[in-house]
């Protein structure tokens, strides 16, 4: 009886498979929808979607323009940063639209393997730092200076921090100097590895809502800032070269210029799509507006991109290759 069911399923699959082939091939063969007078044979661009909203905002705006202004088909494979870099080599990924530093990956894939190339700044500035909920800064105004953190370490104790103050860290793929900072600034704190962005977001939300102490690693641009009030801790100021030796870092994170990375193949054969990606450049405010629509106003990535594109014609027209 089981065999009969399986046979039925298979027969159905085969029968529909023939019809299905057309379903599959039709989108790439047909001209793209909309189309500002662009040709239908422009090709396909694969922009990796790394799992944070700011990234999705940038990717969706570029994808929207590629589709509707240049007539490309765009695929948005969802994939973690590491694998996206490797995807350049296998041909699964053409573009990473927002890269946070990653000097190790740049060295390996751009310099050694030569499968990736840099495609310029996105104009977004990334700021990494240590944050506390705003109520703490209101109650203890001097807490925002790292020199006073030890005085308040007791407040930050949790069941996980083994008697010291807790510094909550996030996803292990993030850039991190935390261990060296704690050691070199002689802070009485222990890093507790949250393991994910969600752990940080939920921690921050509860800390502000429930008035609970929390010291945590976070970064801007992020949609959370439009919802929860956070205050940054002042660490010793960043100076050129102060973070050269990862073990001796005793200074704040530098402001990071977020940039775009594309596969070598795309750089060579991408044509106008590559030019558009190269020209793409906007501000943190632009990105936050799109990200906020996607997070808090329930818009899909494509809807949010459309809204921004319609309101900012002058900005994006400069990106469109002549």
């Amino acid at each position: 009886m089981k065999i009969r069911l399986l046979a039925g399923l298979l027969a159905l699959g085969l029968a529909a498979g023939c019809g299905g082939a057309t379903v599959e091939t039709s989108p790439s063969a047909a001209p793209s929808k909309g189309g500002g007078g662009a040709s239908s044979a422009a090709g396909t661009v694969k922009i990796a979607i790394n799992p944070w909203v700011g990234y999705e905002a940038s990717a969706n705006v570029v994808a929207y323009l590629l589709k509707n202004e240049l007539g490309y088909t765009v695929e948005l494979p969802e994939i973690k940063e590491q694998l996206a870099w490797e995807g350049f080599e296998t041909g699964d990924v053409d573009v990473i639209i927002e890269n946070w530093g990653h000097p190790d990956l740049k060295k390996q894939f751009i310099e050694e393997k030569k499968t990736a190339v840099e495609a310029g700044s996105t104009g977004n500035k990334g700021v990494i730092g240590w944050y506390i909920p705003k109520w703490m800064a209101d109650k203890h105004p001097d807490i925002t200076d790292y020199k006073n953190l030890n005085k308040y370490a007791g407040l930050f104790k949790t069941s996980e921090s083994g008697g010291k103050g807790q510094l909550l860290f996030g996803d292990p793929s993030y850039v991190s100097n935390e261990a060296a900072l704690i050691k070199n600034l002689k802070l009485d704190f222990k890093i507790v590895t949250g393991g994910s962005e969600a752990a940080l977001i939920k921690g921050a939300q509860q800390a502000q809502a429930q008035k609970k102490p929390l010291l945590f690693y976070f970064w801007d641009p992020h949609w959370l800032f439009s919802e929860t009030e956070l205050v940054r801790i002042k660490l010793p100021e960043w100076t050129e070269g102060c973070d050269a030796d990862p073990k001796k870092v005793a200074c704040d994170y530098p402001e990071m210029d977020l940039d775009k990375i594309v596969s070598k193949k795309f750089a060579d054969t991408g044509g106008k799509a590559y030019e558009l990606v190269q020209n793409f450049n906007w501000t943190n405010e632009d990105q936050n507006a799109v990200a906020d629509d996607m997070t808090n106003n329930g818009l899909s990535g494509e809807e949010a991109a459309k809204k921004w594109v319609e309101a900012n014609t002058a900005k994006w027209q400069a990106w469109i290759p002549k």
Binding site: L5, G20, P77, I79, Q82, G194, G195, K202, A209
Partner: protein, 638 residues
């Protein structure tokens, strides 16, 4: 651990308590004397890790030099991708009314009108939830993965059930497949199989095949030897015995194998999305990056609905009397249902109409926010108490004890409970963990895993016994178990994070939810398989229900309960990585780190191996209770 476990076993064997008591005292004294020495602290730059990282780089650089390897893997990818595309395009070509009708028709053939009703409602709910396309992708991927897994797993399982030697050879492989965290090999997997649906299907299969093999083997092994002997003495050939005796008699337990394969496949939906496999996992990740349960819950519900639907269909096929034929009305009804759907596909719009979807994102978010705000004080208290009373002392005991003392304790306990061979295996695993340079983190993970397994077994036994005794309880409980096992953990982890914070407690909470269902099912199945005649005999001899349970049912269901304990351990270890995403740290975090940072690949992979070794060790310590008193069945095993 040393002192508590030893004294516990001392309590059981009262007449010979003196020796264990002395040994326990000895352990306590040794621990106090040597505490803090020989603790093998963690070094993230250990040469073992670097060696693995280099090996991976070497393979990366040379994988294109070896055409055989490359072509072989390429063909696997093409084949699996082909099967997926076949299902995907078939399901899409049917259109939504067509798919609803066809699912209903197939379900009617499988199990009559009730199952058909479930299938129609279930399939329609994908559209109502506003997730039609992702659901179809997931359905195609899971169907492909499950059918391929069963095609591979059932024959191997039958073989393993018939031959003890095969079973012994294959068990470590299954342990690795099931316990090795997917994250530890996901990156290289993506290199060989690329990203996307085929790679996602393969990752899913690696995880879904082991239960298919294990439970099929158990089903075959449980077949009464008298029936086999009778068949052999009547002159049946081996093939006849297999098809006419073993398989029909093993049917009900094999249905469980199908069930678990589906559940496992669906539990991989989110991880498959990390290598860009299409489907509902993408909605879950989207909700996660926005920290909104409202986005994740519908996708989670769709996964659960799919699980329940597929499970009921497959199981009713497996359970039905093999000689019964489907009546003409049944065939007619099924054909009508499917036909109606296909006709409607031509008439109705190709996309699911938006007016028929229900959007509850903000409502769900509000409810979750309310719970997060109002339960916080209570949940924090529970978390803090558990951590202070149980987790922290246990962890400091494990991490401050010298490694040789822990090894000695494991050896003695395993020897006492399971005998020499398992004890040596357990010791070997522990020493390998030390040599791999993962001692400290393994001890931390062991703490959370031990607590989670104990809680899981306690809850699982209680619920399983209750389900075996009261049919109605079992019926009510079943969909809840399905939901607990297949609901992607992140859906309930977000509120758990808000309520319990980023802690080991949250990780334990998640793994208990995930690991309880198979334990309950296996215990229930085991108690139910106790022959009715034995139960009646005991009852007529004047046993109370309690005595019946303790003296007859539980002892006779020993094998199933041991398998339940084993699966409880395996499932808990499978959650080590998810636990690390919410604060469990240790081995799971190393694995995630290895997945995220290329330079730490070695540490992640080694941590994955250490997780497997921990699992095998725990398994060997616990499994052997059975070996001490070999059952007559075992000796006669063919």
């Amino acid at each position: 651990m040393s002192s508590t476990t030893i004294s516990a076993s001392a309590g059981i064997r009262v007449p010979r308590w003196a020796a264990p008591a002395v040994i326990s005292v000895l352990f306590v004294v040794t621990y106090l004397a040597f505490r803090g020495t020989g603790t093998l602290p963690h070094d993230s730059e250990a040469p073992q890790f670097a060696a693995v990282t280099e090996l991976r780089e070497w393979i990366d650089d040379h994988r294109n030099d070896n055409p055989l390897f490359l072509y072989f893997l390429n063909y696997i990818r093409l084949f699996v991708g082909g099967v997926f595309t076949l299902f995907q395009s078939a399901l899409l070509a049917l259109g939504w009314p067509g798919l609803i009708g066809v699912m209903g028709g197939l379900a009617w053939l499988a199990g009559g009108w009730r199952v058909a009703l479930l299938a129609v409602a279930g399939t329609a709910s994908f559209g109502v939830l506003g997730l039609w396309e992702s659901s179809v992708d997931t359905l195609a991927l899971v169907t492909a993965a499950v059918l391929l897994s069963l095609a591979i797993g059932v024959p191997i399982g039958v073989w393993a059930g018939l031959s003890r030697r095969v079973r012994r050879m294959i068990t470590p492989v299954l342990d690795v497949m099931q316990i090795m965290p997917t994250f530890a090999y996901l990156a290289p997997l993506a290199l060989f199989f690329h990203i996307g649906a085929p790679a996602g299907t393969i990752a899913t299969m690696i995880y879904a095949i082991p239960p298919a093999i294990r439970i099929t083997a158990l089903a075959i092994e449980q077949v009464s030897p008298t029936a086999v002997e009778a068949s052999a003495s009547l002159g049946a050939t081996r093939a006849q015995t297999l098809f006419k005796v073993y398989l029909p008699l093993a049917r009900s337990t094999m249905a469980l194998a199908v069930n678990q394969t589906i559940m496992m496949a669906l539990s991989m939906v989110v991880i498959a999305n990390l290598i860009s496999a299409p489907g509902l996992g993408s909605d879950i990740i989207r909700g996660l990056s926005r920290a909104q349960v409202g986005i994740m819950l519908p996708a989670g519900v769709a996964v659960v609905v799919m699980a329940v639907m597929l499970d009921r269909m497959m199981v009713s096929v497996a359970r039905r009397d093999p000689h019964a034929r489907i009546g003409r009305p049944g065939l007619l009804a099924a054909a009508l249902l499917a036909g109606a759907g296909l006709v409607l596909t031509r008439i109705l719009p190709p996309e699911w109409p938006e007016s028929l979807t229900v959007n509850l994102v903000s409502e769900v978010n509000d409810v979750v926010l309310w719970a997060e705000t109002h339960w916080y004080d209570v949940t924090t208290f529970v978390k803090d108490t558990t951590s202070t009373v149980l987790l922290n002392p246990l962890e400091s005991l494990f991490t401050s004890a010298p490694w040789w003392l822990v090894a000695a304790a494991v050896l003695l306990v395993a020897w006492r409970v399971s005998g020499v061979r398992p004890a040596l295996t357990a010791l070997g695993c522990l020493l390998a963990i030390a040599l791999l340079g993962t001692w400290e983190h393994s001890m931390r993970t062991l703490t959370t895993v031990a607590v989670a397994v104990l809680v899981t077994l306690a809850i699982g036994l209680a619920l399983g016994v209750a389900a075996a005794r009261w049919t109605r309880f079992s019926a009510v409980q079943r969909p809840l178990l399905d939901a607990a096992q297949t609901m992607p953990a992140f859906v309930y982890l977000l509120p758990a994070l808000a309520l319990f914070g980023t802690t080991r407690f949250t990780a334990i909470f998640a793994s208990v939810i995930f690991a309880v269902p198979p334990v309950v099912r296996l215990v229930e199945d085991g108690i139910r398989s106790v022959p009715a005649t034995v139960v009646e005999a005991a009852a007529s001899a004047g046993s109370t229900p309690g005595q019946l349970l303790r003296k007859v049912q539980l002892p006779m269901a020993r094998r199933a309960i041991l398998l339940a304990a084993n699966q409880g351990i395996v499932m808990t270890l499978a959650m080590v990585v998810v636990g690390a995403l919410v604060g469990a740290g240790a081995l799971g975090y190393d694995v995630v780190l290895g997945f995220s940072q290329r330079t730490d690949f070695g540490m992640g992979f080694v941590a994955g191996v250490a997780t497997v070794l921990l699992g095998v060790m725990l398994d060997r310590i616990t499994q052997g209770a059975d070996n001490r008193r070999p059952s007559p069945q075992r000796r006669k095993a063919p």
